[in-house]
Amino acid sequence: MLSDVNFSLAEGEILGLIGPNGAGKTTLFNIISGMLKPDRGKVLFGGRNITGKAPHKISRMGIARTFQIPQPFPEMTVLENVRAASMFSHEGGKGRLPKDPAEICGLLGLGGKKMHEPARRLTGGEKKRLEVARALGTSPGLLLLDEFAAGLTVAETKWASEMIRKLSKEFGLTLVWTEHVMRVLMRTVERVVVLHHGSVIAEGAPEAVVKDQGVLEAYFGGTSA
């Protein structure tokens, strides 16, 4: 359950959304992306009220998301997954993101022969990349990344961090990123919102948030060294 969650995003910003298990991070993503309808409150995107709209409508407005557990179209190839996404995006595409599905696959390190492999045959890390590639296929203005770095190797995590920065700086994409791999998130994002029991308990620059007493208590049940 979420209550008293209020924050805004600047265009091109990378926002980190953190909190212990059950804090409401994925629930918030589900509400923003239309998969859950809130009882109260509003979600505004580019000045438009998108509260309670169907997921496909929200996607067409330019909000894309990834899933914590990758959910590709398993029988389609990597390229077909991204191409399918690009087919149904109507209102997106205002940013500088590449429009060509093959180029998007290449951007995410899924180019060449890998593009023609069925999604079900990909490794866990590759499926995570495909999640992002498919989301980018919709030409979004805002990308919601749900635990993108979870389960990745150290090298992959470093790559993920660089990719997220690139998406923001080079392509002007706005990102909200939830993550449990705190070190990489804190290095990448510009601002952090901390959720606990469905409420925002802290907000600010990463270096300030890690020292916040309320955040330390939420994570460790008390003070930390």
């Binding site: 992306s33 239309g34 998969m35 169907a54 997921p55 496909h56 996607s59 067409r60 894309a64 998301r65 899933f67 959910q71 590709p72 179209f73 398993p74 029988e75 389609m76 190839t77 077909e80 191409r83 399918a84 996404a85 087919m87 149904f88 995006s89 109507h90 022969k113 023609h116 492999e117 069925p118 498919r134 989301a135 296929g137 919709t138």
Partner: protein
């Protein structure tokens, strides 16, 4: 300008099919057998349009067939429309019913959808079985003046061709991509902008339209209808068997499945009247176990494997796949 044979190749199959449909009555000792086979092909293909493409098994498919039959039959029996208009009305009536059915059912998933559609089948049967205005349990006959078997057969052939062509375009368009996405991962499909409820509804309406046409055409030929036959769940089960045998989600699968299952069934019925259902059951189980993706799916796998082996032996490591449906 010299015609390019490669560009004309795709036309070869439809032209061959048209010639075959035209001459079939001359070689099948009349129109009855080819009519029934075509009727089953339309039923199986229309079942495939929804169940095959979306992955939702509609156990109420026969409802469209029965309602189409009743609408067409009533219009013909009361001389309210020409048989052509009555058949079209049967299709449109079933399409409308499918639209109504889609409102509550396309929001259900998996087994819940299957149970709901089976329940609708039972409910519709009970309504028609007790509805005096449409003949209730005994049904009614249709006195059709100037009935020409060849005329009914050619209308059936045109409907079958349109049904197969519709399935072909459904699988090769943006619509087909949406259906693939819904079947493989509905939540993800919604997240990329696919309006799942809309696409499922459209597929069910088109499926209902063709099944309704098949029902109305059957009544035009048989000149009799009653609820027991019009809403017999075995019609749905046969459609499922035909699609499974030929190849789910393929365009050609229901044609092969429908022809084989009815043709083999008819042959066995004449040859072994007391054993034919057992023999047919064993044949179906055997084929489905040996080729779970049906005859078309198994053939496609065989040719794909052969092509990949050939490409690898030629030094081209590309394993690109052709997802196009046969």
């Amino acid at each position: 300008m010299k015609p390019n044979p490669q560009r004309l190749a795709p036309l070869a199959l439809p032209v061959a099919a048209a010639v075959l449909l035209y001459v079939a009555p001359n070689y099948a000792a009349g129109t009855s057998l080819p009519f029934i086979i075509l009727n089953w092909i339309v039923l199986a293909e229309s079942f495939n349009m929804f169940a095959g493409l979306t992955g939702y098994v509609n156990f109420g498919h026969v409802v469209f067939y029965g309602v189409g039959g009743y609408i067409g039959g009533l219009l013909m029996a009361n001389s309210m429309a020409s048989p052509y208009a009555a058949v079209l009305a049967g299709g449109l009536g079933s399409a409308l019913l499918a639209l109504g059915m889609s409102l509550p059912t396309t929001r259900l998933r998996g087994a819940y959808f299957a149970i709901a559609t089976l329940s609708i089948n039972e409910a519709v049967f009970v309504i028609f079985d007790n509805w005096d205005a449409v003949g209730s349990a005994p049904g009614f006959t249709i006195p059709i003046a100037d009935y020409l078997p060849l005329q009914v057969y050619y209308v059936m052939a045109i409907v079958a061709a349109l049904c197969v062509a519709t399935m072909y375009f459904m699988t090769r368009s943006k619509f087909g991509v949406a259906m693939q996405a819904i079947r493989q991962q509905e939540k993800t499909a919604s997240s990329i902008g696919v309006n799942a409820a809309f696409y499922k509804t459209v597929a069910l309406v088109i499926s209902g339209f063709f099944a309704g046409l098949a029902g109305a055409l059957a009544i035009w030929q048989i000149a009799f209808i009653d609820p027991t036959n019009a809403f017999d769940v075995r019609v749905t089960l046969n459609s499922i068997s035909m699609v499974m045998l030929g190849g789910l989600r393929t365009v050609v699968g229901p044609i092969i499945g429908g022809t084989l299952l009815y043709g083999v069934g008819d042959y066995l019925d004449r040859r072994y009247p007391f054993l034919h259902l057992i023999v047919l059951g064993v044949v179906i189980i055997g084929v489905v176990m040996a080729m779970p993706q049906g005859i078309v799916g198994a053939s496609r796998r065989f040719f794909q494997a052969r092509r990949i082996r050939r490409e690898e032996s030629e030094g081209d490591g590309s394993n690109s796949r052709d997802l196009a449906h046969l």
